[in-house]
């Protein structure tokens, strides 16, 4: 446990000090502020436009940071032999994987949480009334981003950093659409198609089910029971991805 905490803290320090991260976050904040301008040209819709645009910016930049930093960080340690230093000490492969994930989770909590809080304050000051739903939506965006991190950590144990990032982004995009696969399969499809659709639906994380951005801007109500269920599914999904990454690492020879 001490090793996991040490690796997590080290990963957090290493990533939070990276200037690339600072640049990305600053750009994201500029995009969120740009929502003010969009709001100003939308008649009587300033607050709604700002929240909508801001939450999309939080999602997009959170996922980009997750996909690229997670892949680079894990793969770099393998390719540049830093893992030799770690594994010659009493550090298990699973501790390495979990420590890296938790460190990245802490970094992304700062990044996504910071952006969400910035948006919340902005809506409070100029957006025509803040809504606690902005913070709730940010928390659920964070959950999606963490799932992408777990997926990318897994892929970076088996492939290159750039491919792991791309696959992570691909899973995120597919996860936005996975509920459509199930819907389509029910329109006059056979039993086999429906079964395959179910498999795809389970294997690709259903991010859409925990997306409450529309509710945050007042466009719909939320079935919280369903959100909680799907949030639990994402947590389980992360656990499986990390277990798979640990398994691959344990079998890996350096």
């Amino acid at each position: 446990m001490n090793q996991v905490a040490a690796i997590a803290l080290n990963t957090f320090r290493e990533t939070i000090r990276d200037r690339v991260l600072t640049v990305i976050v600053l750009f994201a904040l500029v995009m969120i502020v740009a929502g003010l301008w969009l709001g100003s040209i939308s008649l009587e819709q300033q607050g709604r436009m700002m929240k909508d645009f801001g939450l999309v910016a939080v999602t997009v930049f959170g996922v980009i940071v997750a996909a690229f930093i997670a892949a680079t960080l894990v793969r770099k340690e393998v390719e540049k032999r830093t893992v030799f230093v770690l594994f010659s000490k009493p550090v298990s492969r699973a501790a390495f994987v979990v420590g890296k994930f938790l460190g990245l989770a802490a970094t992304l909590a700062a990044v996504v949480g910071g952006m969400g809080l910035f948006l919340f304050v902005l809506t409070l000051l100029v957006g025509g009334g803040a809504s606690g739903m902005v913070l709730v939506a940010t928390a659920l965006i964070y959950l999606q981003v963490l799932t992408v991190v777990a997926v990318v950590v897994f892929f970076s144990t088996v492939t290159s950093a750039i491919l792991a990032s791309m696959l992570g982004l691909g899973v995120f995009v597919a996860g936005q659409l996975s509920h459509n696969v199930l819907s389509l399969s029910r329109v006059g499809a056979g039993a086999i198609t429906e079964a395959v659709s179910w498999v795809v639906f389970v294997v690709i994380p259903n991010f859409n089910a925990v997306d409450v951005k529309a509710a945050a801007v007042g466009e719909m109500t939320v079935d919280w029971g369903s959100v909680a269920l799907w949030a639990g599914y994402l947590v389980a999904y992360m656990a499986v991805a990390l277990a798979a990454a640990s398994f691959v690492m344990r079998r890996k020879e350096f």
Binding site: N2, E14, R17, T82, V85, F87, S88, P90
Partner: protein, 281 residues
């Protein structure tokens, strides 16, 4: 000869260790180690030398458990890794950590408390001459400084056995001198050091015993004094005699003049080897 005889007091002993990896999509088998017999005694400064692709780094990795042997046995009496320190070849450390933070991180991996972590980091920074750069980020370190912080991390657990993979590679003369001084001090402190190197002058200067590897086998082992008795002109000449000169025009008879070894062991069987750093599947 010691590297092939299972005597007592061996801190490290490899017996008939083989390693075959499978590379590429077709999982082509490539043998890297072909029966390595090696023994390192307590207090040795042991030099493992050989041409590129001889299997030196793989031998160290097998010793550390980073790779599992395909055959043979590995007896590391200090099996609890707490008693072993390791510096890989050309390592990358964390760019955005300071030297002090990095050492503290390594100490924490051994479960040391905050006070002990600080004390050891301070002592090692002083020992490797990096006190002044203790709070500078590692990305601003020179190669020599990185090598010294690498040695410091290998010593953070106060190990009995220190394994250094090419510790002098890429260093300028001052950097080499600093690393040599550190190795000499480790020896004076009674630690056992095993290192790989291509720089034979350093091996001659530092080592008490050496083993020469070629084609995945140990083809010669003994003390530096024995090697110099064989080749009074120096270790470089001895090395060339043992491993042979594979340049075009050098005869097989010349290559086969091996003190204490079978000629066919030295010549090898011409199978491809996995170069250092190539990832086996």
């Amino acid at each position: 000869m010691s590297p092939t005889s299972p005597e007592a007091q061996h801190l490290v002993s490899l017996s008939g260790v083989t390693k075959t990896v499978h590379v590429g999509l077709r999982r082509r088998p490539v043998t890297i180690l072909r029966g390595v017999d090696l023994a390192v005694e307590h207090g040795d400064v042991f030099g493992l030398i050989g041409p590129n692709g001889a299997g030196k780094t793989t031998t160290v990795k097998v010793l550390l458990g980073l790779m599992a042997p395909s055959g043979g046995s590995v007896d590391l009496r200090l099996r609890g890794l707490g008693a072993v320190g390791y510096l890989p070849e050309n390592p990358y450390f964390y760019d955005y950590l300071s030297g002090r933070e990095f050492l503290s991180f390594c100490a924490r991996l051994f479960g040391l408390g905050a006070g002990e972590r600080k004390a050891r980091a301070d002592r090692l920074l002083r020992d490797v001459g990096l006190e002044a750069a203790a709070d500078v980020h590692l990305r601003k370190y020179s190669k020599g400084m990185l090598q010294r912080i690498g040695i410091a991390q290998a010593l953070i657990n106060d190990p009995h056995l220190v394994l250094l993979d090419e510790p002098m590679t890429g260093l300028d003369p001052i950097g080499r001198l600093e690393v040599k001084r550190i190795i000499q001090r480790l020896h004076d402190e009674g630690r056992t050091v095993l290192f790989n190197s291509h720089i034979l002058a350093d091996v001659e200067e530092l080592c008490t015993r050496i083993a020469v590897m070629k084609g995945g086998r140990i083809v010669w082992g003994g003390t530096v004094a024995e090697a110099l008795t064989d080749s009074p002109e120096g270790l470089e000449a001895f090395f060339m005699r043992v491993v042979g000169d594979e340049r075009p025009g050098v005869s097989g008879d010349e290559r086969a003049r091996v003190p204490g070894g079978e000629p066919d062991e030295v010549a090898g069987d011409g199978q491809p080897e996995v170069a250092a750093g190539e990832t086996p599947s």
